[in-house]
């Protein structure tokens, strides 16, 4: 069964590109959310296999969303990969400390995105 991935980004174009990329390259099923709060609901209801989470979002940013996902037993098991422009060594450490699986830099490689995600999660592509 195809993997189901939730892409969370406030930028519609990025959601679209990520969706097209993952669906085209890996054949995964991609669902999207435009904000952290939407993501919390979608994650709980849709129970995706993984969440690609943008960090810089208004209102509730990626980290806050992740923490809320972690705090919820219904979503805490879902692996979360950050999708962010903000990746520096210190950030990576922090993300790791927080329990995030990985952080993928923006702009991402549309072709390699699925591979990167699969590698992190140990999925087959």
């Amino acid at each position: 069964m195809a993997k189901r991935v939730l892409v969370v980004d406030n930028e519609e174009y990025i959601r679209e590109v990520a969706q097209i990329s993952l669906e085209t390259v890996a054949g995964w099923q991609v669902i999207t959310a435009g904000s952290g709060s939407e993501a919390l609901i979608v994650a709980q209801t849709e129970q995706p296999d993984a969440i690609l989470l943008d960090v810089m979002m208004p209102d509730m940013d990626g980290i806050a969303t992740f923490e809320k996902l972690q705090a919820n037993v219904a979503t805490q098991h879902i692996p979360v990969i950050l999708l962010t422009a903000k990746i520096q060594a210190a950030d990576r450490r922090r993300y790791a400390d927080l329990g995030l699986k990985a952080a993928i830099a923006k702009p991402f490689d549309a072709l390699g995105l699925a591979t990167q995600v699969a590698a992190v999660l140990g999925w087959d592509v």
């Binding site: 174009y13 990025i14 590109v17 097209i20 085209t24």
Partner: protein, 1047 residues
């Protein structure tokens, strides 16, 4: 005795006694008379004697009585005696006395008469005289107005005349005469009167007595002159007295006495107090009092009879005395101060009053000179004068000395001022260094003990200066935590400075405050050397908390920017990557979508980059606002024009209510601001709704407003939306093609125009974005600099547009549609000419014209009437200068305006340029001279002060940094000048000025332009603006025409 002898003897005796004897024989009527008889009757010797002869000699008046008397004597046989007058043949009348005796016969008939005549002429004469005299006396006494009385020795009033009786008020004389007169006498005078009366009556003395009587209830003074008179009745002596009432005289005497006493007192006083002299008309002294004698040292004898010149000192001019004599000889009182000479040659001063005494013809007959000795005062005055002269001389000397000293001092002062100003600058710099926040100074000795701190350091560290002095450097270093070793003195860069004598800079130190809080510092440690030996170090430190915050903000901005940039980049990169992979057919729906995303994102990226660069340039001041005069209406129209397609796209109506106001602004930037706000408003409006663009004048600003009926903005966002990337909703940036920088850019632009921008909003109802742009130099009119300004007043919008189009190539055009606006704008903008429609609907154009002509600020602005009507030839033409008929002929209108404007005089205005840079000065002089403006150049402050007085400039362009005195000094000097203190001033200096410095530079209208920031062209324009205001004012003051600076 012999009878013959006897007879002879008798005759002789008779003749000697002037007597005659006669013997009348009555029977024979023969009368024998003696020769004496003949003589007495004036008859010739031997005349016959008959009774007829006799009777013929008798005075006719007496004849009858003679005959009668003779008859009586005969009949009664009595002796006859009668006095009669005889008339001699020469006509003379002689009195005689005849005596005779009749002799009778036995029958008793008279037969003989013997008698004598005696010449009694002398006696008769005496008797007559006596009788006359008595009659006179009686008449006199009766008519005598004084009292005449007879008083007996016992006081009985024997007689009193009518006047006397009247005097004592007696009606009935019988009741008084015969009574004692003593009762009339006042009791105290009674004894004297009685004694006087007895003296007269008993001793026959005559005399005078004054006494009082009491009559009719009043006391009256009487004076009586009495003589003794023998009473015929009893031969005793009585008093005959003439008495008169002297009551009035007594009163006068009494008054006179008191007057005399008074005069005596006055004279005494005068003599005691004053020097008194009397001279006659010739100036000869007729009286001199003691004081005069004393002061003149002449005796009275020496003075009297001398001319007053005896005391002349020859001090006074001839004219002085001429004037004096002229005065007194005219009967006027003269007063003056005279210097006189005493006998011994010494001088004395008198204050003199000369009073002329005038006769009935008002001519002076003598002069009384009353003088007061003022020698002492004169002496004092002269002393004072001498002292004053001396003082003046001394003052003059001292002043001269002072001037010299002052000049010296001034030189020294100037020198010192220069030194002081250098010192001041230095001191100011030092003070700045010492006091500026973030710059702390801390001195250390070789052992790390604080030797001194500056106030800034103490404040930053939370200590007082005293608390820190002598403390160890560790006091301000962070305390060592458990797992850290304490700052080792040896390892501190401060210590290193002490060791190696080098300067060490540390940027990551933290200092500790008294309250144990810490703050980041950057410090420089510098060794202090004294005679080659290091004796300590100075730490100069800065609190870099703020800087770190700024850096953090910068980091955040970079982070945000990087995010904002990466976002579209991510989309582009991803889209293109997918398309490139060939996994997707570019023509498929997804392929097309990816391309669309890529293109859109590219656009967004471009916008973002542009905006980021834009805002960066604006805020850093790298781009100057290209400010120029521009009309708000034009800007609004342009913005509306740009936004119209977008409005249409969104189905939004765009409503513009423009106002024609000249602004001093960068028109492109204002349009950018307007389009930005309009764009936002349109994007957030519901289709079918309206977006309004309006403008209104608010005092010295123009307020632009963009209003929508969109979703509104939450209250908490109203401020932050003007920050960068602070959209209400981030998704808006893509949805609405925004970058998140638009409002930030708007804010920057508005701020660069010294305006304000803000938003008001009600959620769900809409928002209003407002910003202001100052109407620069409201009073000098923000008209187009290069071109004259024409105010078009027409209620028809189409006509306004037509006129605007016709005129805008050559002139600045201001259009108004209402009369009120016309007057307001004319007052405010001071256009060079007004084109006025006189058949404006709703208002009478003539009324507008009247208002314009009534207003002092607009009365001189020429008016061109623009009307569909032809001019009424009967109209007075003083209110308008030309009449143009609609429909308008462009060429005619332009020609008319050109002529109207040409009428204005160009009056010379003078600028004083104070600039020490010759190249810049030359450039500015050329610039202004090309405009026909007289410009004077001063290279130094002193020259500026001198020139400003000579040329009385209309405006001053002032550089501040000058070789001698500063621009501040020049301004200060001018500010104390009585008319230059209001001189308009343009400060054009490279020096950045704080408010305090600006205050010191204010004269009249003052503008501050910074060299480097403001170009010479901009300076020129600003100056022209100011001058326009000045000349307009001058014109108004002079009642002259208008002036324009059109090139």
């Amino acid at each position: 005795m012999n009878s013959l002898f006897v007879e002879t003897q008798l005759w002789l005796a008779l003749e000697a006694a002037r007597m005659g004897i006669w013997d009348w024989n009555i029977l024979t009527d023969e009368i024998t008379w003696s020769s004496g008889h003949e003589q007495l009757f004036g008859l010739e010797i031997g005349s016959d004697g008959t009774y007829a002869t006799f009777l013929a000699c008798i005075h006719p008046d007496d004849r009858a009585s003679v005959t009668e008397m003779l008859n009586i004597a005969r009949q009664e046989q009595q002796p006859y005696q009668q006095e009669m007058r005889v008339i001699w043949s020469d006509g003379s009348i002689h009195w005689i006395e005849g005596k005779g005796q009749f002799f009778y016969d036995e029958t008793g008939q008279a037969v003989r008469m013997l008698g004598t005549i005696l010449d009694i002429s002398d006696r008769k004469r005496m008797e007559l005289a006596l009788r006359d005299s008595e009659n006179h006396l009686r008449a006199i006494i009766a008519a005598e107005p004084e009292c005449v009385k007879l008083v007996a020795s016992d006081g009985t009033l024997l007689n009193m005349n009518a006047a006397g009786l009247a005097m004592i008020g007696v009606q009935n004389p019988d009741a008084t005469i015969g009574q004692s007169v003593y009762t009339l006498i006042a009791p105290e005078h009674r004894a004297a009167f009685q004694s006087f009366n007895e003296s007269v009556c008993n001793e026959g003395n005559s005399g005078k007595l004054e006494f009082e009587i009491v009559a009719q209830g009043t006391r009256r003074w009487m004076e009586t002159h009495a003589v003794p008179l023998q009473n015929e009745a009893d031969k005793t002596l009585v008093q005959l007295a003439i008495t008169r009432d002297i009551t009035e005289r007594k009163q006068v005497e009494k008054n006179l006495r008191s007057l005399l006493q008074e005069l005596a007192n006055l004279k005494f006083a005068l003599d005691e107090s004053s020097i008194v002299a009397i001279t006659n008309c010739q100036g000869t002294i007729t009286y001199a009092n003691d004081k005069f004698c004393k002061i003149s040292q002449y005796s009275r004898a020496e003075l009297i009879g001398q001319n007053h010149r005896i005391i002349n000192s020859h001090y006074h001019s001839k004219a002085f005395f001429t004037q004096m004599w002229a005065t007194i000889s005219q009967g006027q009182v003269w007063q003056g101060e005279i210097k006189n000479r005493a006998k011994d040659g010494t001088f004395y001063w008198v204050n003199t009053t000369i009073v002329p005494l005038l006769d009935e013809q008002k001519n002076p007959y003598q002069y009384i000179a009353i003088r007061r000795d003022i020698t002492a005062r004169k002496w004092a005055e002269s002393q004072l004068l001498t002292a004053k002269d001396e003082l003046e001389i001394r003052v003059a000397q001292r002043t001269a000395e002072l001037v010299k000293v002052n000049e010296q001092l001034q030189l020294e002062l100037d020198e010192r001022k220069r030194a002081e100003s250098a010192l001041e600058r230095l001191s100011h710099q030092n003070q700045l260094i010492l006091n500026s926040v973030g710059e702390g100074l801390c001195g250390l000795d070789m052992h790390g003990k604080i030797s001194f701190v500056n106030p800034a350091a103490a404040i930053m560290l939370g200590y007082s200066i005293a608390e820190l002095s002598g403390e160890s450097i560790y006091t301000i270093l962070p305390q060592a935590t458990a797992n850290e070793t304490p700052n080792s003195w040896n390892k501190l860069p401060i210590y290193e400075s002490l060791q190696d004598g080098a300067v060490h800079q540390v940027t990551n130190q933290v200092f500790r405050r008294k309250d144990n809080s810490s703050f980041p510092v950057e410090y420089v440690s510098t060794p202090i050397r004294e005679a080659d030996a290091i004796i300590g170090a100075v730490i100069t430190f800065k609190d870099i908390t703020e800087r770190q915050q700024v850096e953090r903000m910068k980091d955040e901005f970079i982070s945000v920017v990087s995010h904002e940039l990466r976002t579209p980049l991510t989309s582009i990169h991803g889209s293109l990557g997918m398309l490139k992979s060939g996994l997707l057919d570019p023509n498929s729906e997804r392929g097309k979508r990816l391309l669309e995303i890529a293109v859109d994102s590219s656009d967004r990226l471009v916008r973002l980059i542009n905006d980021i660069l834009d805002i960066e340039r604006i805020e850093s001041g790298k781009v100057q606002m290209a400010k120029q005069a521009c009309n708000a209406a034009d800007l609004m129209a342009e913005a509306a024009n740009v936004m119209q397609p977008i409005a249409q796209k969104f189905g939004v109506n765009l409503s513009v209510a423009s106002i024609s106001v000249e602004l001093w602004a960068d028109s492109d930037r204002i349009i950018q601001t307007l389009t930005n706000l309009l764009s936002n408003a349109i994007k957030f409006s519901h289709p079918g709704s309206t977006v309004w663009l309006t403008a209104e004048i608010q005092a010295d600003k123009l307020l632009f407003q963009v209003k929508d009926r969109g979703r509104g903005i939450p209250l908490e966002k109203l401020e932050t939306i003007f920050e960068r990337f602070q959209q209400v909703d981030v998704s808006d940036s893509r949805d609405r093609e925004g970058t998140g920088l638009g409002l930030a850019i708007c804010r920057s632009i508005v701020q660069q125009h010294n305006g304000q921008i803000w938003a008001e909003s009600t959620l769900g109802e809409g928002s209003i974005f407002s910003f202001t742009v100052p109407i620069v130099q409201q009073e000098t009119a923000a008209k187009t600099l290069e071109r004259p300004l024409i105010l078009v007043c027409d209620d028809d919008a189409a006509t306004r547009t037509t006129l605007q189009t016709m005129l805008q190539h050559n002139y600045g055009v201001l259009t108004v549609g209402s009369s009120q606006e016309a007057v307001e704008q004319a007052v405010r903008q001071q256009p060079d000419a007004i084109v006025l429609d006189v058949v404006m609907t709703g208002v009478n154009g003539w009324e507008v014209m009247a208002s314009l002509k009534q207003h002092a600020a607009t009365k001189d602005i020429p008016i061109i009437v623009c009307s569909v009507c032809l001019p009424d030839p009967n109209l007075a033409h003083q209110d308008f200068v030309d009449w143009v008929v609609k429909p308008l002929d462009e060429a005619l209108l332009l020609q008319s305006i050109e002529q109207v404007l040409a009428l204005g005089d160009r009056s010379l205005v003078r600028i004083l340029l104070v600039e020490d840079d010759p190249a810049l000065a030359q450039l500015l002089v050329t610039l202004f001279e090309e405009r026909g403006i007289e410009i004077f150049h001063a290279q130094t402050g002193r020259e500026a002060i001198q020139l400003s007085q000579q040329i009385n400039p209309d405006l001053l362009i002032l550089d501040l940094i000058l070789p001698d005195v500063t621009g501040f000094d020049v301004a200060l000097w001018l500010s104390h000048h009585h008319y230059l203190h209001r001189l308009p001033l343009v400060v054009y200096s490279a020096k950045e000025l704080n408010n305090f410095e600006r205050d010191r530079l204010k004269l009249g209208q003052t503008e501050f332009l910074t060299k480097g920031r403001v170009s010479t062209q901009e300076l020129e324009q600003r100056v022209i603006k100011l001058l326009q205001g000045i000349t307009q004012k001058k014109m108004q003051d002079n009642g002259d025409g208008k002036t324009s600076f059109g090139s």
